[in-house]
């Protein structure tokens, strides 16, 4: 049984220092011209470099140190399997048709093509009363989260799960909704952190959750891989109703749910009046590099003055965005066709099988791993340890990239996140290497 990782090597002390201070030092040379424009104080509040570029940087450093090592990435959650032929062909045909007089198209509707909006509504929101006109096609969920922050503005109070994908918090800091970070806890003032850990079945104690305007909620959760149950989501909607809050529900991994838990917040009665849903083709159809997602804003969702949120979101989309690439939209539509959807769901199954292999691996090491059943992520507990140390040690000993849990919030400090995206042979090799830690 695995007992402990020896923290024998030097931590990369400088890596987590904000680049700010380093670079500012360099520029204290009085001869360098500076504008008289003040740096945005909200940008100054951001504490660390953005998590995933940071991990890429560490991977590059490791590759330099061990030029012959075969690094396996179980880090950034990035799809690895080729697109189904029907999807790739549809994009190829669409792209090629742009060279013909009859096939050429210029600007599309900022909100996305009607066909695609309708197909999204029918595929993912059947019998939930969501119309195509309430679906806004985007270039990805992360981009839409920032556009939602522009929509909301700096006066909103927000709640987030802890741990959580960092884009919600970072975009909240940038738009000016937060105070400074509290040293020690690493938490920003004016954000309500909803602790989600195994003791509470990865759901917050809502009796202790302060009222906020916006509640960001991601299910299946990134990083924990936990899919909220019917009962949990009913509680969440009830909380929003009682508090008059708006839920921003991130369902980017919903197609990985196979245990019968809800795949959309709109499966919960009453949710259309209190929730926006953000989602993506990235992990459904392998579109991480193609870039396509969507956001649902129901017409029934109203601000306190009765003004429909959808009208303002439409204005944001028309002013700050110009539509997703038409080629990507053609691919999205193909992936929702009968043949296409079957094909992309078989890729989802493939990644779910990877997750099973990894779950068994960590269990064989005597480690507790959560998630991995309804999600392509495992959340592995290393009690009493520091997640960046665990990240470093796994990398040093096995040449495997993971993600340190503390990158997702204070509640992640004893965890690492492991992705199930990968070629099967790499997952199997990673499994062997991890098991060898025991030897």
């Amino acid at each position: 049984m695995y007992t402990s990782l020896a923290f024998s090597f030097m931590p990369y002390k400088t890596i987590l220092s904000p680049r700010a201070s380093i670079t500012t030092q360099d520029n204290k040379n009085a001869t360098v011209y500076r504008t008289k424009v003040s740096r945005n104080p909200t940008m100054e509040k951001l504490q660390y470099n953005y998590l995933f570029p940071e991990i890429s940087e560490r991977e590059a450093q490791h590759a330099k140190k061990y030029p012959n090592a075969k690094i396996i990435s179980l880090g950034i959650g990035d799809t690895t399997e080729p697109l189904p032929d029907v999807v790739a062909s549809s994009m190829a045909n669409y792209a090629y048709s742009l060279s013909t007089r009859t096939g050429y198209r210029g600007y599309g509707a900022e909100q996305g093509s009607k066909d695609l909006r309708k197909a999204i509504a029918e595929t993912f929101y059947k019998d939930m009363g969501i119309q195509g006109a309430e679906v806004f096609v985007s270039d990805g969920a992360q981009c839409d989260i920032s556009r939602l922050q522009m929509l909301f503005g700096s006066n909103m109070s927000i709640a987030v799960q802890d741990p959580i994908f960092p884009a919600y918090i970072d975009s909240s800091v940038i738009i000016g909704q937060t105070g400074d970070v509290e040293q020690g806890s690493g938490r920003y003032q004016n954000i309500e952190y909803m602790r989600c850990d195994p003791h509470h079945n990865f759901f917050p104690d809502l009796s202790k959750t302060a009222r906020t305007d916006i509640i960001f909620f991601c299910s299946p959760n990134n990083p924990t891989g936990h899919a909220a149950s019917w009962e949990q989501l009913e509680q969440l909607v009830k909380l929003a109703q009682e508090n008059g809050s708006i839920i921003v529900y991130d369902s980017a991994y919903a197609v990985y749910i196979t245990d019968g838990s809800p795949r959309s917040i709109y499966e919960i009665p009453g949710a259309k009046k209190v929730a926006i849903e953000v989602s993506s083709f990235s992990k459904i159809a392998g579109f991480t590099g193609v870039r396509l997602g969507w956001t649902v804003v129901p017409k029934e969702l109203l601000y306190s003055n009765g003004f429909p949120v959808i009208n303002d979101f439409n204005r944001i989309i028309c002013t700050c965005f110009n539509g997703a690439s038409r080629i990507a939209q053609a691919g999205g539509l193909a992936s929702l066709s009968s043949e296409g959807f079957k094909s992309v769901m078989s890729l989802v199954d493939y990644y779910k099988s990877n997750a099973e292999i990894l779950l068994e691996t960590f269990e064989s090491l005597g480690l507790k791993a959560y998630g991995g059943v309804n999600a392509p992520y495992l959340w592995v507990h290393f009690p009493g340890s520091n997640s960046w140390d665990v990240f470093n040690e796994i990398l040093e000993k096995t040449h495997i990239i993971t993600v340190p849990g503390s990158g997702f919030g204070p509640a992640g400090k004893e965890y690492i996140r492991v992705t199930a995206f990968g070629h099967r042979e790499n997952i199997l090799e990673a499994s062997d290497r991890l098991r060898s830690l025991l030897l």
Copy 2:
């Protein structure tokens, strides 16, 4: 000679009313559930619906009224000619390769591929000292303008040309940099409007321009089609240096310049320390539906505290964006190849010939038309008239869509903007119809 348009039909009074007030009325039904979330007050400041969706709406209404009319759009500046084969094929091949094990790619760098960044630097900024690492690939200039506003934040003061493409002002309002709109003038408080009209060769009187943190400047200007001269841009850079301001220079139409005027702000000595440049493949390569652009942030550009703007912009790109579609990037790279660039520039020439035809047409009508030489836009003066009335009358009498100048700011109220994008036969037919106004 053309003397006057009779304003004989009813203006569409309601169309310019903010949807806000209409819909709010509808929702005063007390039985409708409302959240307790306040509408973002900055969104409430936006006065009108976004210009181009509004024009699309009017076009749809006209088509309904005259179902047999062949409407010709000289309105939204949207490319119409098929992509060069080399460009479309590169995207088709790239898209298809995503269905192969060796060709599949997931997430790319948020900043764009190194190859493309390098190609942009070498094609457009040769001998200006701009490196690929200072080029950030995006999904379009409009999107990057909003990301720049997130970067700057609500405390910045801004200046804009008047008239100007509305995205700068609208995104400034949304991010909270402005006060309310002044009824009558239609101008927002806290924005410095730099009047650019024929009397001053479409360049502001800088001696009367108040100091602002940010100066948005678009050249060739959309809508006037004026390309700023060397002398004008030298004055602009000098102003930024004296005031410690940052210029955000929009060069989306720069490839249309053929009179020797600068195509980049970085042609002006010293500009790298005071300017960001935003640009796009939309009007270079016909990518309005493909979605690809870029922003240059030179390393030398520093905030007052010495912190490099590029570091914060990089953080914005990593947090609020996830890279342009890899397929679009493949197309962008192909369009900058030797064969590709020659092909796309022949399309630029095609549109410039359209502009010549339209210039002659308006001149034959005795109207003064500006632009059209270094830009795909004409800015046509109708002295003493109201631009929405002119828009309506041209539409009613000729079934031609234009853009009312007042949509670009108060200085545009006697103008319409006419685009030179279009199939040649449509441009010729539009020319005939316009000439018939004389008969």
